[in-house]
Amino acid sequence: MERTHLKAFADAEEMEISFGPQHPSTHGVLRLMVKVDGERILDVKPIIGYLHRGTEKLFERETYNGCIPHTDRMDYTAAVTNNQGLVGAVERLMGITIPPRAAYLRMILAELQRLASHLVWLATHALDIGAQTPYFYCFEERDKILDLFEEYCGARLTTNCMRVGGMPFDLTPGWTDRCRAFIEQFPAKVSDWERLLTKNRIWRERTVGVGVISAADAIEWGLTGPPLRGSGVRWDIRKVFPYDRYDEVEFDVPIGTNGDTYDRYLVRMEEMRQSVRIIRQCLERLPDGPVMAKVPKIIKPPKGEVYFSVEAPKGELGYYLVSEGGDTPYRLHVRPACFINLQALPEMVRGQLVADLVAVIGTLDIVLGEIDR
């Protein structure tokens, strides 16, 4: 695919556009100061902070279980994996092993959340590139996932569905059947959407060779998740530092080759299939037993510090917890995937066209709630 090379006119004037924070395709409240020469982007400066809520400071005055609802509101399209990271960090510091049933439940919910998050990504990404219809197809499926969440924990978006030491509830009767019914019909839907997009000439022209980032650059910038794997680096926290029971299930980590928007698209589509595979195995093996380990009523991790990360749908979501031995964290720092992925945006769009900017924002799959916290 040829890249566009537009030469600047000698007397061309630079123009600066304020792209957002109220713009249809900046996914929330991202503001970009875009310097353009005609349609060509000379530079982009992301301005963030419009959704800052001081989450990390709030953590410091909450009990550990009280922190969990705050994590829901970081990456609000993937609350379950946010919960998972936090409780994982506390459990590691306290040396708690959660019961196997709880671990499998976490994996099922986390993979469902990955599907839901990727569905939001596909829907909005396609919409930004001008394809309206996949949006509605994706949201139909996402709704079914949210129904499953609602049935399990009562909430659809801000799930707050994990506790230090396990899971707060056991499954409702028949939940596994409904979940199985969902994942059985899901791969066919993915193929449907791929039929609309994957070989579509326009889709390919809009995504192939757009927002390229090499594997070395991707590592240099600290990209994680699909943006890193799209560049051909096989790095998935679930494989390299397995948590819960990810070492007991089989799944592949799809990678791309060119590091462009199209490869990241293919990676995420394949990840959805792999998630279905994981859920299927988890449902088969789901052991009986308690869902909560024996933990003290008041969670007081010993003095010390720990870094624990999970593979969130958007990339590596890490929690760095410092405990002074009290019932609240001394410091709880979040390593957000989106924030670090967003840094590479100016690098990826420099020299490309305004239309590519929205494609690249879409492909980075950012959520401002997590960037600003």
């Binding site: 713009h23 395709s25 396609a126 001008g130 309206q132 219809t133 949006y135 509605f136 326009i202 022209e205």
Partner: protein, 339 residues
């Protein structure tokens, strides 16, 4: 009196039908898109939502009409007019049926008239984008200008192909020739039809060529700053232009008001049960089919990027339409077509 009253009545009828039609196209578009996208579409206003278009129009009438403080006031006002007037003017020469009752006028250079008048609409978009004094609008206007100019050329060649086959610039004559030949021009001119319709979609700024108003990139493109009735004019202009492109495609390639297979099924069309169907019925049916195609596109395709769009226009459609014109002209020469 007959010089004045009858044309005036016709004008009023055509305008009313057109504007109502354009308004209802929005309703149908929403319904069709809704069914493509597993939703219901508007179904609250009136029986099954049928009054939605009226409600929208009323809403636009009472909306506050904002003019940006630093805009070029007169041009800002002029732009919507420049969009809607040419779109409506084209219908002066479109023949809806064989006899004089079914059309306003038949001029011998109708085709030139249509091409010329519809090109004026582009001024509305450029001026609207420029006068808003908004960067997004300006970019939308410029995109649109580039797009319209590059697509006008291959579209011209596609239309010339039909002229070569028909040997006339009169729209009525073009349909008559299709009747006499017993074959509609889409068969020998399938390439021209393709080029014409693709260019038509591009000229009306519709998906997948809706860059000038690309919502996800340029917010609203050239009409970002417009509101109320001025915005409605842009909107109506877009839909009226869709009808124009579809109507012209019908006239040029699909035998205008002729029923399907006019010669082959002639006995059927002569049956009293169908003979009473007025010719405009067939015309509108074909127009509706084209408009459905437009909406189908919108439900299916992503959007082209600016440079890709230009490449498609200049590097693909232009050579194809030119080569096709040569081939068709040669064919007409060999087969001894009409001169």
């Amino acid at each position: 009196m007959t010089y004045l009253v009858i044309p005036l009545v016709k004008i009023v009828v055509i305008l009313l039908v057109l504007i109502l039609g354009a308004a209802y196209l929005t309703f149908f578009e929403r319904k069709i898109l809704a069914y493509i996208q597993i939703r219901l579409g508007p179904n609250r206003v009136g029986p099954k939502g049928w009054l939605q278009a009226i409600a929208d129009a009323l809403k636009l009438f009472v909306k506050e009409d904002l003019t940006p403080a630093r805009s070029e006031k007169f041009v800002f006002l002029l732009a919507p007019v420049l969009i809607i007037v040419p779109a409506l003017l084209v219908f002066a020469v479109i023949p809806f049926g064989p006899s004089d009752i079914w059309r306003l006028t038949d001029i011998n250079v109708a085709l030139l008239f249509v091409l010329g008048v519809s090109s004026v609409g582009i001024y509305g978009i450029i001026l609207g984008g420029w006068s808003s004094n908004n960067k997004y609008s300006l970019m939308g206007g410029l995109r649109s200008a580039a797009q319209l100019i590059s697509y006008e050329v291959p579209m011209g060649f596609a239309v010339v192909t039909v002229v070569v086959m028909a040997g006339s610039l009169s729209l009525v004559r073009i349909v008559e020739v299709q009747r006499e030949l017993g074959v509609w021009f889409f068969l020998p001119g399938i390439v021209a039809l393709f080029v014409y319709f693709v260019c038509g979609v591009a000229e009306t700024n519709r998906n997948p060529f809706d860059l000038p108003e690309a919502e996800s990139e340029l917010v609203g493109g050239f009409h970002t700053e417009y509101s109320g009735m001025k915005w409605a004019f842009f909107f109506l202009g877009e839909y009226a232009n869709m009808i124009v492109i579809s109507a012209m495609a019908t006239v040029l390639f699909f035998g205008g008001w002729l029923p399907p297979f006019p010669n082959l099924l002639a006995p059927l069309w002569a049956l009293p049960a169908v003979a009473w169907v007025p010719p405009p019925f067939w015309f509108l049916l074909k127009v509706a089919a084209f408009i459905f195609l437009y909406m189908w596109f919108r439900g299916t395709f992503p959007r082209y990027r600016f440079d890709q769009l230009m490449r498609l226009g200049w590097k693909v459609l232009l050579p194809v339409s030119l080569a096709n014109l040569m081939v068709v002209a040669l064919g007409v020469l060999i087969l001894g077509g009409r001169s």
